[in-house]
Point group: D3
Chain length 236, copies 6
């Protein structure tokens, strides 16, 4: 029995509130249960120096947690003067995941910055960030299309992400914080709407895991991501 009382293949309630920000070209507040992430997309008419003149755009991401988004207060990264290794790892993952579904030539020489800020954390912040960043990015591209800045072909597919883990020997979907802290294995999957795999990360927290266990985690992930993609499309 999971602490959350959910069935092994049952996700938390997921909701997406679009157009959350008055200023951003695209935004949403995404909730995976008690994990709440504000995702915004900001358009800039410039690209990083190494892309100038290449006729291609860029998509990048930053991630942050509010100091008291967690059970005990964390030190503010702006105050400590640097982003932790974990923060950098997550924002690199978000950026790679979204770039996998963007046609950079169709975007043109522009950069879209995705900011994923965790308002409240209860496990799965990086997967919620990727799933919500897709919505913010799509809103931004719709905004651009409405202004004839791009065509309708910049996004090649949906992209969404979910975590799975082995909790007391059982593979389960969408870990919350209590489950994640106790899980023997933790894995994150990023997939497209058509089922392609963009990123897999699996880590043994205690004992190593087997290929069979990993396959079962992937099966769960595919189920979860299908549900997330349906929700993304419904919310649009």
């Amino acid at each position: 029995m999971r602490p959350s009382k959910r069935a092994p293949d049952e996700m938390r309630a997921v909701s997406i509130e679009r157009g959350f920000s008055k200023h951003a070209e695209g935004s949403c507040l995404i909730k995976f249960g008690d994990t709440h992430v504000l995702c915004t997309a900001s358009l800039e008419e410039r690209v990083p120096p190494w892309l100038r003149g290449a006729g291609k755009g860029w998509v990048t991401a930053e991630y942050g947690m509010l100091p008291r988004s967690t059970g005990s207060r964390m030190r503010r990264e702006a105050s400590s003067g640097k982003q932790s290794g974990r923060t950098q790892e997550i924002q690199r993952l978000i950026g790679r995941s979204l770039r996998a579904v963007v046609d950079m030539e169709a975007l043109g020489e522009r950069q879209i910055s995705l900011d994923c800020d965790v308002i409240q954390a209860d496990g799965g912040t990086r997967t919620a960030s990727i799933t919500g960043a897709y919505i913010a990015l799509k809103e931004c591209l719709d905004w651009m299309q409405a202004r004839s800045m791009v065509g309708g072909n910049v996004l090649k597919d949906n992209v969404a992400a979910i975590s799975c883990g082995i909790y007391e020997g059982t593979p389960v979907l969408d870990l919350d914080y209590d489950e994640d802290s106790e899980a023997e294995t933790d894995a994150n999957f990023v997939m497209t709407g058509s089922g392609g795999i963009v990123e897999i990360q699996g880590t043994a927290e205690a004992d190593p895991f087997t290929e069979e266990q990993f396959s079962e985690l992937m099966r769960l992930a595919k189920k979860g991501i299908k549900e997330l993609v349906d929700l993304q499309n419904l919310s649009a």
Copy 2:
């Protein structure tokens, strides 16, 4: 005529959503029109080194803006590796303002950290932060009192803050961003529930101002702060 169509002495709609955070000992989401600030209070059973053994507590504050809380995206301070002078100035002001109404002996050797994070900005973020931080602090002290950690005498009074300015020659209350950008003079007032002044900051943006103009700004501020204090007490 103000861009906001408000009367010179009319504040924006202000709302306070208490208990916004699942984790923090006290929290609220405060809105002054389109300015939205999440305020949390975090209790820690330790004090800064220079207060150890003094039998007194401490209240401190940190302030941040989400990168796309503003009209154009700002650089993330955690990424640039330092807090701007403006950020430091504001968080020092918030801390001083709240400490003015706390009995540190009654608090005991503990620290309460107030985090004010701007989710969306439209002028007046520092005054919204102070007004909301009071609510988060009060919730935190109520939480402590319910656990018999403190008595009911830690808070000596309410504290709230409001901005005023001279817009096209007319003193007006509670500037939004459009008004603030054009104001000739900008002033922030922090006052207690019983009308005492905690902090005054007045700055000439263009031409110097006169003592008479400043008195008129203070009159407006007193009106606004009275309304805010009433709202604080109603929301409790």
Copy 3:
């Protein structure tokens, strides 16, 4: 009775030694009693990036304290790797104060940097800095005028600053360190030669203060600033 034995409305002995630096385009050593600040003005034929091509100049300021300018040695900010919040707050105040009396179009596309370095501190370093920076700036503009780089119309007025406070219940002018440490309220005023107010900052250190008390502080400030402006003009 003040620790300094001065009457409530009596300033410390103030002196200005002009042309203190061999290299700078303008400079002075200003002394408010035992508070000694070296102010220099440095002309650069460039403006910040956001002003390029606008046909306007800029005035900026930096502030520092020598490590042993104070009673006990402070850590050197260059060694700790960052400027404190207090330092940034003060240098922003100095910059704003001086810009209030400069006609940026008449200055042309150039930047003048004002460095205020505290050689010895005994309270009131920020107000001495502003008062002395005016002299350094004026010397620099005279130097430029002598070389036909600008006309005589860049400076619109004098600017000077003074602190006031409530010490043992009595409003007093120009606090030294011993008085400042014990004051219940501390306020800084920046005004022009013609009596306009550029900046007001008032802070309750212990109990809140009243509007009447604040008016009395302003009255003292006006008296002090008049004396400082007279001295600035005499020293020219």
Copy 4:
């Protein structure tokens, strides 16, 4: 045909030179073809603050590249003042991988720091680092056992790592730099001597990949890691 002319399941020549450092408690120079990494293990009789008194030890890792280990010179991280996101990601991976095979109670309250410094890079530096760090760690534990500081039960298993990728549509083992730059998919596998999986990271560089492709990469990885573990044991 791979640029390296190797068969799809053929690793580069791998060599391990043990005891490379005069000073370190354990060390080796590991070569995967032209990728050369110096791995050292340093014993310290202290643990991180959060482990003090817990009766357990800790293993941590740091990673660096010499500025001209690569085709064009990289900026020295000590000079730029921070470690890149990539560096932090890799050193976190190395640390997790090694901790997976260490019995922290049997180690006792001590920390072993593994430094992996890339002398020359030609792809696969993180997997070479993990494979070599195991040797350095084992040497260090042997050194401690020879001094009766620990028993022979601290290491629970071997651990080694290898990269795989899809190059021109074909899954291949152990990518060198030329292959890695062109690969459509890149995956890193960390496994134990007994075949358990410690960490999986798979990334689509261009188009998403399928579960079948990923299974083939894992099959290659198991073959490669078996060879690396045999080599580790032979070199001992």
Copy 5:
């Protein structure tokens, strides 16, 4: 002919103003011509961690230049967030030089920090700093002796420093900025009152120099340091 019109073995006018700072335990303003350095000594009743319990004291030094101490304004090191290599090199030299004449056992477990801040620069700031720091240190030790904290045996000898160089083929003593910029060779000498050598640094700016040239520079240095030591003793 030197730009300064001085004879090859002629120093600039040197003056020492003792007791310059109201707060420091020892201080002086030392002038070598237009080079002016404020030197303070600050006593702290603690030693660096690696000396605790060793029954010995420590002497350390920090060096800084005011931003406009030079012909064109330099960036403030506190603002740029780090001390330059040059600054660190000089403050390490000052510390080593002074430690050479201090009996650390006689000092006891205390640290004296010497701050050398260049108010105005015209060449030779490091040698003026060492020569002046000796005076500040001596004043501090006299202050301590007057309070029976130490005996009269802490200082083992005087220490002073001077620069020499080869200017247009001629060895000359005590270079000012104009001479230093054009010198073919630049050397700094630190010596004790009894003629022992504490530090020698000689650098070829253009062509290498010969042993004979270096001997001539040393001869000049001995003459100059003798004059400085006499002045130190006279000023006491």
Copy 6:
């Protein structure tokens, strides 16, 4: 008797392994006994901003120690976020030393960066770095000459460096770590192949030294540098 059993004027075994790096335009691994330094030269077709358009090139150097190159592990500078004063002092010395033998006009508008990374330390790392950097620089210039980028006249002379010291009262050549830790005086000499002096640094570690002692150290240094220059030329 020296701990190393060497005669007072006897150097350690010195070896130079040229072409050590696959990627760099020039490189060597130089060993002075157990001190091993990897030196690489990297060519870049750009110069520092202050040299642009001057028709001249530049040579610069960086220095680093691997964390466990020493007897006890040092903190990694990339992790601590800054280079120590010692590191900066050494890399400035290496750069100056090599620039002394380069004709910058003949090099043309290009920069060569010399990286000296200490793989293993046993005293004398800075002198080994300079001696090895000469080889890397020469290899780089040969590589450029083979591509007709420069003529054969860029290097004006050899340059090499050695340390000397006074150990138990006896002047000795080429101190290893054990000797260096106990030496009363420590001096580093940088000289050209034709015997010109480029840099001299002598420091009294305990008591001051005399001019006679210093002359004896220089005599030893000249002997040692002659041997190093012969070895440089043989290894070419």
